[in-house]
């Protein structure tokens, strides 16, 4: 799993060999989206609330980026981040509420 979270070597190559600077900017954006998603995922995991979707989405993102498809990579990384953000929102709410469901 872990190795998939980093920008794969092939993706780097795709960036370096591309003459278009627009492509390079996309790669930077992808890395930024990836890092944001990773930190959201850590946050959700720390709160014992990770969905089983986020890491899978990030793997798909890495695959897309590896093929040089950064738009798709960014889209998927953002989705992974959103899922983790929603999990954190649940965590915050449930921390306050869970004990209300315990029979007294």
């Amino acid at each position: 799993m872990k190795r998939n979270l980093y920008l794969p070597f092939s993706a780097l190559l795709a960036v370096l060999m591309s003459p278009a600077s627009a492509m390079a900017a996309d790669a930077d954006e992808y890395v930024a989206a990836l890092e944001k998603a990773q930190s959201q995922i850590c946050e959700a995991a720390t709160r014992v609330q990770l969905w089983n979707t986020s890491e899978a989405l990030l793997e798909e993102a890495a695959e897309a980026a590896a093929k040089g498809n950064f738009d798709e990579g960014i889209k998927l990384a953002n989705e992974a981040a959103l899922h983790a953000e929603l999990a954190v929102a649940t965590a915050v709410r449930e921390k306050k509420n869970w004990h209300l469901y315990v029979p007294k």
Binding site: A45, V48, Q49, L50, W51, N52, T53, S54, E55, H83, L86, A87, T90, E94, W98, H99, Y101, V102, P103, K104
Partner: protein
């Protein structure tokens, strides 16, 4: 004087925020008795079959030739096979490992860890320089099945000693059980308390009470015998929450809480389920 009143108030607050495990257990039994006034709660050791007459008949037929029987035999053989150093599993457990399942999981005062039976079996191996076994199915589950079999009829007797670390582990397991999680935002409680006895797609849902008495379980869907933490993983995945590793701290705490809730109920493992 003022100080004293404040102090008392705080104590009352604390007490209501943290019911004792025994208060929790009794309240849980009352909850199920109120939901199912005619049900003998002791029947809940049979899971969903306590609620479903038709499924129960099919299950009783299956129990005529129990699919877990081979696992018990294989488990017995593995249990008795000495390690390379000549020691055996029996050396690691009280009473030679026979009829001890009711005491698991327990809180280990030395390490502060929750020790499930599977955890203890693998610890026995590593303490004797053997490789640990995979956690969820296979030889470990078979050994657990044999040990559970020798404990049939005993009453669940999980102890939470007067140690803040033990109580914290229990509370963490309890919080896990009642916390909504996953993309579908379901807590264990939503399915196994609010919806106990009802249908979820093709499955009738068992209730929390008695859910820990009969492990490991031979499930037709698995085609083999598996441990309770395999079931935890499945239940997490169903609501699209990321499951924990088997025998992670989270799952051991969850099993500690869940097992305590079944205290006083008869052990009937291993069991078969659809």
């Amino acid at each position: 004087m003022k100080k004293l009143i404040v102090a008392c108030f705080l104590t009352v607050m604390m007490a209501s925020a943290h019911a004792t495990p025994e208060q929790d257990r009794l309240a849980l039994r009352a909850f199920f008795q109120e939901r199912f006034p005619k049900l003998d709660l002791n029947e809940m050791i049979n899971g969903l079959y306590a609620f479903d007459e038709g499924a129960r008949e099919q299950w009783l037929e299956m129990e005529d030739f129990p699919p877990y029987e081979i696992a018990i035999e294989e488990g017995e053989e593995a249990f008795n096979k000495p390690f390379a150093n000549g020691k055996t599993y029996a050396d690691c457990f009280a009473n030679g490992g026979m009829g001890v399942k009711q005491d698991f999981p327990y809180f280990d005062v030395g390490t502060g860890e929750i020790i499930t039976m599977e955890y203890a079996i693998n610890k026995c191996r590593t303490d004797n320089d053997e490789e640990p076994l995979p956690w969820l199915v296979g030889e470990l589950a078979q050994i657990a099945a044999y040990m559970a079999y020798t404990s049939r009829g005993n009453k669940m007797n999980v102890v939470i000693p007067d140690d803040p670390r033990a109580l914290a582990a229990y509370e963490a397991g309890k919080e896990y059980y009642y916390t909504r999680r996953g993309q579908l935002e379901f807590a264990c409680e939503n399915c196994h308390m609010q919806s106990a006895g009802m249908m979820l797609r093709a499955d009738r849902l068992s209730g929390m009470l008695g859910q820990a008495t009969h492990w490991p379980v031979y499930r037709s869907k698995w085609g083999e015998i598996g441990t309770i933490q395999k079931r935890f993983q499945e239940c997490n995945s169903q609501v699209r929450a990321k499951p924990y590793e088997a025998q992670s701290q989270e799952y051991r705490q969850l099993e500690y809480f869940l097992s305590y809730m079944s205290n006083g109920m008869e052990l009937n493992g291993p069991a078969s389920r659809r």
